[in-house]
Amino acid sequence: MGRITLDKVTKSFGDVNVIPPLDLTINDGEFVVFVGPSGCGKSTLLRLIAGLEDVTSGQIRIDGEDATDMPPAKRGLAMVFQSYALYPHMSVRKNIAFPMKMAGVPQDEQKRRIEAAAKSLNLTDYLDRRPGQLSGGQRQRVAIGRAIVREPSAFLFDEPLSNLDAALRVNMRLEISELHNALKTTMIYVTHDQVEAMTMADKIVVLRAGNIEQVGSPLELYHTPQNEFVAGFIGSPKMNLIRGAEADKHGVATIGIRPEHLAASTESGLWQGTVGVAEHLGSDTFLHVHDHGLGSEPLTVRVDGEMPVRHGDRIFLTPDESKLHRFDMQGLRA
């Protein structure tokens, strides 16, 4: 079981209020991702749940039990750190065994769990090496192995993939998702990378300055962002946000349109501009369109990979009216 409830939790460091009162419920078996820009309090929130920081006020409940003042070890949660935090003087086997040794698990049970974890994480050949002799991905797996053997009620991941190279990151992302499907344990995952959030999460919590901006499934956030911040943060490349006269036509302060919901043409369309940088990805091309008269920011538009446009060409854009997002003066969805 791993149902975690935060009830009016706040955190201040001295005079700085990092997390204003915050309520959140994480259901058993869910994969929840906290996402937000640097310094938004997502790691602090995770450390509050882990018990590595004390809450200033409010209550944390794990499976209905008040865990606010419980020491980290008693909460039954396992954490994977950004730096992996492996013990450098211990072999991989001893690293994985450490939490069991502390908990007084019998030797043969320890051995069984280590073998099982090593097998599922492809670490069997490396059990007698030191962390210093492993690659980044292997260290990451050892850190996950050390978390698995505790059989925790929930896993906490603190930006676990940010130290890996791009290819390995995609692999580990899949492995962690597979792990979640196999274990069906609650996982809380902190990242600043919205692609990781979108691909892995059952539920995304978007944070800004300690406030929860929106909670929802990846597609909910994509289709119905509740405010401008979420709209701009979720989706890659970013949504185009247009203010001024064009927004007034729709009776709102800001309209947003995603690059993939703009139709591009070389002959005719609603808006027009000149093509700037074209980013060719093969399947798609992202065009940055300037001089469109809708604001100072260039518009980003996704076109087919084969579309024959060049730097400086004239281009016409037509937004898909049904996919247009409207935001009022406060930045809230209208």
């Binding site: 590595l52 070890a73 954490m79 935090a85 450098p88 450490f98 939490p99």
Partner: protein, 290 residues
């Protein structure tokens, strides 16, 4: 910068320094070796003659030698024990955030800047003196008999004084090592269910192993040759109760004017120091490998 020419130039340029250091070491060493085989007493100048191993035989069979050997080992071992254990505990304490941290750190290093003769005299006259010392006053305040530290426990007192001097060194080295410990490792251990004691023994001590090795090696070098503290406090006495090898050699060559015997003692000390060094490197040298 690893061409043949640059490497040859590098060798050429460091050679004066190397030759100077080599000469600096080899000349006194060979003179000591040479003197150790002579009957050479400053009270009888011009009477030097070759005596073979006699100097060594006299030095090694002197009852004071065995006593000095044990005293040396006790002194080195005792100070090492006190400074590494005490230094680790002090470093742990000073690693905690508290008000006035900067000043406390400066105060802690202070004993290291006090000259050995001065600190030994301060301890001898102001603290350990059985009549005027602070400890004597304290004892009298509680109605106890003052304890004459330097007469009753001469070696213990010297170990204490030398430890006081070297504790700051150990504390500082261990403190910097402790500060380089990744906090996430401690947090991970905490999440893994390790209490404060387990965290100390399983995470901190292994992390400190290298720093402790450095402390032990450097201190051993200096502690084998403790001299000033003995000279100004006990003069090696009572009897030979606080005489170490260095002090014994000093007595031999400068109090008895026996250059030959002193030289033989010096050579014995060199050999013993090397034995200690070999043992140390065997025991803890692997900690220095990356």
């Amino acid at each position: 910068m690893a061409t043949k020419a640059s490497r040859a130039a590098a060798r050429l340029m460091i050679s004066p320094a190397v030759l100077l250091l080599l000469g600096w070491m080899i000349v006194p060493l060979s003179m000591t070796l040479y003197f150790s085989f002579l009957r050479y007493n400053l009270l009888m100048p011009g009477m030097e003659e070759f005596t073979g191993w006699t100097n060594y035989r006299f030095f090694l069979t002197d009852p004071a030698f065995t006593a000095a050997l044990w005293n040396t080992l006790l002194l080195v071992g005792g100070v090492l024990l006190i400074t590494t254990v005490g230094g680790t505990l002090l470093a742990l304490l000073m690693d905690q955030p508290f008000w006035g941290q900067g000043i406390v750190r400066i105060l802690v290093i202070a004993p290291f800047f006090v000259m050995p003769t001065v600190s030994a005299l301060v301890w001898k006259n102001m603290f350990m003196n059985p009549v005027n010392g602070l400890f004597a006053h304290l004892a009298k305040f509680f109605g106890l008999q003052p304890y004459d530290f330097l007469a009753q426990a001469p070696l213990g007192s010297i170990i204490f004084i030398v430890s006081w001097q070297w504790l700051p060194f150990a504390t500082l080295i261990l403190l910097t090592a402790l500060q380089s410990l990744d906090q996430e490792q401690l947090e991970a251990a905490e999440m893994d269910g390790a209490g404060p004691l387990s965290r100390f023994f399983y995470i901190m001590v292994p992390h400190l192993a290298r720093a402790i090795t450095v402390v032990i090696l450097i201190q051993t070098i200096f502690l084998l040759s403790v001299f000033a503290e003995i000279l100004v406090t006990t003069n090696g006495g009572p009897g030979v109760a606080s005489t170490n090898l260095t002090y014994l050699i000093y007595m031999q060559s400068l109090l008895q004017f026996d250059v030959g015997g002193g030289s033989a003692g010096g050579v014995v000390a060199i050999i013993l120091a090397n034995i200690v060094a070999i043992f140390l490197m065997r025991m803890i040298g692997k900690n220095l490998e990356a």
